[in-house]
């Protein structure tokens, strides 16, 4: 009998032994998802407290808005052309930006420390992010830059990639480039800007559309990969990366099926490559087709691969649609801004795809242990569906319920919402979300080091790309034909 067998039989007989120490509920302070909830909810509650006392957080949440002279001779924030306006603007708001930076540092210190990062590395790295975010906001709203379709999200991504791949930064600065942390917190805050009634109304359609595309894409990638002789574990991981949830989907399924160590990196390389292509391609193609903002958002939600990348694409399209010169149908606020693409994307990706990752992992783990002759896999535990669930989605829903309740408490009156609740309560939350977006998009660029990514190889590339083609076409058909009326009128759906 081998020593393993001897030990095994002794444990079986005694029934005792050291307990497994899984993370379990310690994830409440050890996982980024939960910290995204604590921070997001914290911001919403503080905003609510200010609002309840007839005040607002907006003094500290401001976003750079360099002006331009309107036809009526009044300087308006927007696509500026006059560089001489920059100095006076920051001179007038210097104290606010210092206070805001301190606020961000205070908020992130607790979470970053709890997650085990080095604060001495985080602080200078975050200062770098913050200063460049201001530059990106200012540059991205310049008239000339705007005409080149370089909205702030795209500018952030490009600048980040140039810095990381051409100039280079010390590795320790990665501590501040927490892409997922920033985007999950932003998504939680987004919940406060989406009526819960809209989520209930649109959620089922998003789930149906996303499920059709996800299942079809996964099956195409898996069976094309199998036909090419690719290991079924890699095939399943590639499928998850392309169909479910990008890099997060890849690591969840790789763990569930017991993949080889290089399967996840291969998939991640392909996801990152195609996700970056789609950040640029989807908004530009949507613009050329004059797709309504909600429709484009739904298409991006089905055909982008990662939350961060998809939000960059959706935010870019909202910026494009907000420009009246582009003649794109969208629901706009008093300042002419729309968030229809972001709403469509969030519903499709967060509700329609992200929420199901635990089920995908459980099902594939079950298949791998019962049908793939996997000798070392343990029978999957249904509790995995909860433990793998992307918890930040809960924060998104809770924030939506909170703000919807506030609006309902005012009788659901649209006029009160537009005159008081939106500018004093919702707008500051939107601004915080906008900052987090730029932190995230810039960090994507800064952490995308092409030389470091694993070589995917021709066969995985072809298998994955076959899924991309199906994904994009099927997502386009469902968004622009089958469910077009629904997504076009998303902004006019049930409101607070």
């Amino acid at each position: 009998m081998s020593s393993f067998e001897e030990e095994k039989s002794s444990w079986n007989e005694s029934g005792e032994g050291e307990e497994i120490k899984p993370m379990g509920w310690k994830e409440l302070w050890l996982k980024e998802d939960w910290w995204a909830i604590w921070l997001g909810l914290g911001f919403v509650i503080v905003a609510l407290l200010f609002y309840a006392n007839n005040s607002s957080l907006k003094w500290i949440t401001l976003v750079p808005a360099i002006g331009h002279m309107g036809p009526d001779g009044v300087i308006k924030a927007g696509q500026w052309t006059d560089f001489s306006l920059i100095g006076p603007y920051f001179g007038a708001h210097f104290g606010q930006y210092i206070a805001q930076f301190i606020m961000w540092l205070a908020v992130f210190t607790v979470s970053i420390k709890a997650l085990g990062f080095n604060l001495r590395e985080f602080y200078p790295s975050f200062l770098f992010i913050y200063i460049f975010s201001i530059i990106i906001f200012v540059a991205g709203t310049n008239h000339t830059v705007h005409d080149l379709n370089l909205e702030p999200p795209l500018l952030a991504l490009i600048l980040g990639m140039v810095i990381s791949n051409i100039i280079g930064l010390p590795k320790w600065m990665d501590t501040g480039f927490r892409v997922e942390f920033y985007i999950k917190t932003a998504i939680v805050l987004m919940g406060a800007t989406l009526p819960f009634t809209l989520i209930i109304w649109a959620g089922p359609v998003a789930i149906v559309q996303a499920s059709i595309v996800s299942v079809a894409t996964w099956m195409v990638i898996y069976f094309v990969a199998k036909k090419m002789g690719i290991d079924r574990r890699l095939a399943a991981t590639l499928g998850a990366g392309g169909a479910v949830c990008g890099v997060s989907g890849a690591i969840a399924i790789a763990g569930a099926v017991g993949a080889k160590k290089d399967h996840a990196p291969i998939t991640i390389s392909l996801v990152i490559m195609w996700a970056i292509v789609m950040i640029f391609a989807l908004p530009l193609v949507s613009k050329s087709l004059h797709l309504p903002a909600g429709v484009a958002g739904a298409w991006i939600g089905t055909s982008e691969f990662a939350d961060a990348a998809g939000l960059a694409a959706a935010k870019t399209y909202d910026d494009i649609a907000s420009d009246p010169a582009n003649n794109i149908k969208a629901t706009k606020d008093a300042e002419g801004k729309t968030t229809d693409a972001l709403a469509g994307f969030t519903l499709m990706k967060v509700i329609g795809r992200d929420s199901w990752i635990g089920i995908w992992a459980f099902v594939l783990a079950l298949i791998s242990t019962t049908r793939w002759d996997r000798k070392t896999g343990s029978k999957p535990n249904p509790a995995e569906i909860w433990w793998r669930f992307p918890k930040f989605v809960l924060g998104f829903l809770v924030c939506s319920i909170i703000i919807t309740s506030v609006v309902s408490a005012h009788g659901g009156d649209i006029a009160t919402y537009k005159k008081e609740i939106k500018p004093m309560l919702v707008a500051p939350i939107l601004q915080l979300r906008t900052w987090l977006f730029i932190f995230c998009f810039f960090s994507i660029g800064l952490t995308t080091r092409f030389r470091e990514l694993a070589a995917a190889g021709a066969k995985p590339f072809m298998a994955f790309t076959s899924g991309v083609v199906v994904n994009v076409i099927l997502g386009f058909i469902l968004s622009t034909i089958v469910f077009v009326e629904f997504w076009t009128n998303l902004g006019g759906g049930p409101v607070h």
Binding site: F4, E7, K8, W11, G17, E18, E19, I20, P22, G24, K31, D33, L115, G116, R178, V179, E180, F181, C245, G246, V247, S248, A250, I251, A252, A254, G255, G258, A259, K260, K261, H263, A264, P265, I268, S269, V271, I272, A275, A306, A308, A309, I357, A361, T376, S378, K379, N381, A383, W387, R388, F389, P390, F392, I444, T447, T448, E452, L453, A454
Partner: protein, 79 residues
């Protein structure tokens, strides 16, 4: 709670709960190690994400797998 769930779901051939990867010296699953080893992980995901659960890398078998998996090369990790 996890210990009892693993026992309840184990098939007759599977080792007991305390002999799974999570207790093995070949298994590494710290978020920092995974982000350093799996290139691109922190670009659009994270080692600290809920979706990862307790998954990690087995340096003996060169696999990325669940902390509750097992194999014949188990060696108890030093506490």
């Amino acid at each position: 709670m996890f210990d009892s769930l693993v026992r309840r779901n184990a098939t007759p051939n599977e080792p007991p709960a305390n002999m799974r990867c999570i207790n093995c010296s070949h298994f590494r699953n710290s978020p920092e190690y995974l982000e350093e080893t799996i290139k691109g992980l922190k670009t659009m995901s994270s080692g600290h994400a809920s979706v990862r659960m307790d998954d990690g890398i087995c340096e003996k078998n060169d696999e990325y797998l669940s902390a509750y998996d097992w194999c014949d090369h188990f060696e108890k990790a030093k506490s």
